[in-house]
């Protein structure tokens, strides 16, 4: 069953948005439910959201990240999804039935595709709310313990997700 904004409400994420205002939540929630949708549909991986925060720390270090830029008529932004190696290896195994133990092209291609799918899913939900989002092409970054820092003017929202193989991180930042 596709996860909608109800999934966000059911997971008590909305209470954390109080001080960010409703409009920000309108934009961010579709990304969070899209992550849960894509991973449960494509990888049979159920995820649960951790506590979102305004990012002022370094806890999103991971081994591989998919990054995508977004543009609208009024505001622009970026999203990143960052995985530790063991988590992404399990996702590859579940999606492709392939055992990998190094970050090779199969893994980077898959993270690029996941990133596209997450933003594509969010874009669909956002269009229903009247936001028309242009998607740039994904960029994948690899490297042990790298860190991703969004430099949009707005707040950088960091959302940890938990899953059976471990935690991973989603960050969304929009100007304004």
């Amino acid at each position: 069953m596709p996860k909608s904004s109800n999934w966000v409400a059911d997971n008590n994420i909305e209470i954390f948005y109080k001080h960010w205002g409703a409009m920000k939540a309108d934009i961010i929630n579709p990304f969070l439910s899209s992550v849960a949708n894509v991973l449960s549909t494509m990888a049979m991986l159920e995820v649960s959201p951790g506590k979102p925060s305004i990012k002022n720390d370094n806890i999103s270090r991971g081994d591989i990240s998919g990054i995508i830029g977004m543009t609208t008529d009024t505001i622009n932004g970026s999203m990143a999804i960052t995985f530790p190696a063991n988590v992404v290896f399990e996702i590859v195994n579940r999606m492709l039935g392939e055992q990998v133990n190094e970050i090779n092209e199969t893994v980077t291609d898959l993270v690029g595709e996941l990133t596209n799918m997450v933003v594509g899913g969010a874009k669909g939900q956002l269009e229903e709310s009247g936001y028309d989002i242009g998607m740039a092409t994904p960029v994948v970054v690899t490297g042990k313990d790298h860190e991703v820092i969004h430099k949009g003017q707005g707040q950088n929202i960091l959302m940890p997700f938990n899953s059976e193989p471990g935690a991973f991180y989603v960050e969304v930042c929009f100007d304004g």
Copy 2:
């Protein structure tokens, strides 16, 4: 003196574009001259282009990258500029008069700004050629020896630049 497409021609870059076609060169050249412009204007750093290639290798590893997504009505893309630590430290020193020896917020902010300026400069040149480009917000990635891989459908063009403190890399990838 601002560097225009003449800078590209003077540096014999255009001959490498033969098999990519004129349209691709029309789009890529403004990014390359914008890199040279921004670094010479903002950091008093003269750069010379190395041999561009279709990226099939791992030579763009660096310690910090600025990444930005782009959208147009017809094609989308991404650009990354990747620096080794010693090169970015010298750029910080030239731009801010500050000695740094670790990748801190001053450095990541500056790389985010440089990325914005490079794409902004290219956007100006591209508008003159009739391409209207939407710019997403920059994302900065840090981590020793990380690698950046563009996952657009088109060819990923890797351009090494040489400068007094050392080499750095620019990658541009557009769909189609």
